[in-house]
Symmetry: C2
Subunit: 288 residues, 2 copies
């Protein structure tokens, strides 16, 4: 395959979050010709929403997505209402920052006030996710902010997201917002879905609806993986056939950003962030 | 739900492997009235095959399965032939021990001589698994040894097993050995499949063929999970709705053993093995 267009590269700001604040990330990306980022809400809050918007404009950097909404399940109605309200605020922030979509990490089993999982009802949690996305759509759709469901790896089903396959995400889109350009879609992160034997078919299925494939996230799966959350690999250092999955995305009509998102406690978070960005740029051209 | 019949409890010998050799495990289980175990090949080899068979007879303990065959993918034809030959020996050992099935952990991406993953071709690995099981069936079926495909959690797709869902295992059965009592089936381990939104449907699908549901393995998923391989939980200590999954197995016609398999470096492998067995017996009655 040909290397991807350089201008598609985006940096999810978690990739250098241990080294840099958001203002430094925006400036660092701009210096290197990276014109897209996907920031996290806490990073934006630390700088301030208006200030962030201004810095993005000044630097000529735009968003490839906004991280993140979701976390819908809760033990009681008040908890679910609080989650919905917080999601509405996330939509409003995404609008202010002119993000193309708000990424949803939908949440896992309901937790108690201490953050401990307090239910084993996985079908029930999935119903809360469906209902939560449905309610959020009533706010996001008229406001013009697309919502991107991110299926997470099954190892996060309990504590982060109980939508764990592309098929499940496609089913939710079909149920809640069918058709093309319907304001609900999918963020495809290779780390979460690379193992799925139905991946090609479900990417193709999503591609059948214009606007459903909303994001494409890159990193790599390391063997061995030392930590369930914080040991992602740089593209090319692991076992994922990245060009193959990109070819499926392109065959399905996706032409959007390639967003690098690496949580790496033992490696990339310890390095010079300029070197991390340079590596992202190089690997994007050579192994993706 | 009613507690399960006590006599269905089986102990996978990995559960106390750090504390005891196989002879002690057999004796320890017999003392506690546990009449079924599932031993690993290295443990059997350490005691000797005939000696193991004799000790099982003397103790009145039988097998609920034999661990394990599989690991089919290899970089070249010679490697795949070696894997097949080793699998045939595993079948012969299982016959000697009168196991009801040989459990298959099918293998992930092909590795080089140093044990490092040397391919990113996941569809290719899956084809090798299909071909390997097909060839092994030619040996196992006439010999009368059922083969049980164990779908492993997707987090093991690269290095242990690239069959990661019940649907994939059912598809392999349909392709390689369709129909009832066909000598090829599935080992359902809650740890690997609890997250799957299609689990109930795929258990029901397997149950449609008498003899396809060959094993049912119990443990629990801990939050947080500290290690991808060696941090399984005792039943009741995690987030899996065990009675719900048992109800699906029973609705599908499964009446076989409930095999406890816990790899636990930080907890159960450090405890008195008699206490571990007592806990298995108690939890089987109270939370499964």
């Amino acid at each position: 395959m040909n290397p991807p267009p350089r201008e598609l590269l985006s940096i999810n700001t978690a990739t250098v979050r241990k080294q840099w604040g958001l203002s430094e990330i925006i400036a660092g990306c701009a210096r290197r010709g990276i014109r897209q980022i996907s920031p996290w809400r806490d990073q934006v809050a630390a700088v301030g929403l208006k200030e962030t918007a201004q810095r993005l404009r000044d630097a000529g950097v735009r968003l490839s997505g906004y991280c993140r909404g979701g976390m819908f399940p809760a033990l009681d109605r008040a908890g679910r209402k609080a989650a919905l309200d917080d999601n509405k605020r996330a939509v409003d922030e995404a609008l202010m920052l002119e993000a193309p979509c708000l990424v949803l990490v939908v949440g896992g089993l309901p937790k108690d006030a201490g953050g401990r999982i307090a239910s084993k009802d996985l079908p029930g949690a999935r119903a809360m996710v469906r209902d939560g996305i449905g309610e959020l759509l009533e706010h996001a759709r008229p406001a013009g902010m697309p919502l991107a469901i991110e299926p997470l790896h099954p190892m996060y089903a309990a504590d982060r997201a109980c939508v764990n396959t592309m098929a499940h995400a496609n089913d939710l889109c079909d149920e809640l917002s069918p058709g093309a350009n319907a304001g609900l879609g999918i963020a495809v992160d290779v780390y979460h879905v690379w193992w799925d034997p139905d991946l090609e078919r479900e990417i193709e299925r999503a591609g059948g609806y214009s606007g459903r494939l909303m994001a494409f996230h890159l990193c790599d799966w390391l063997v061995p993986t030392a930590d369930l959350l914080l040991d992602r690999g740089m593209m090319g250092d692991g076992v994922i056939d990245l060009p193959l999955i990109r070819s499926w995305m392109e065959a399905a009509g996706y032409r959007g950003p390639h967003e690098v998102e690496i949580f790496s406690e033992r490696n990339w978070w310890k390095r010079d962030p300029d070197e991390v960005l340079a590596t992202c740029v190089a690997r994007h051209q050579t192994v993706c």
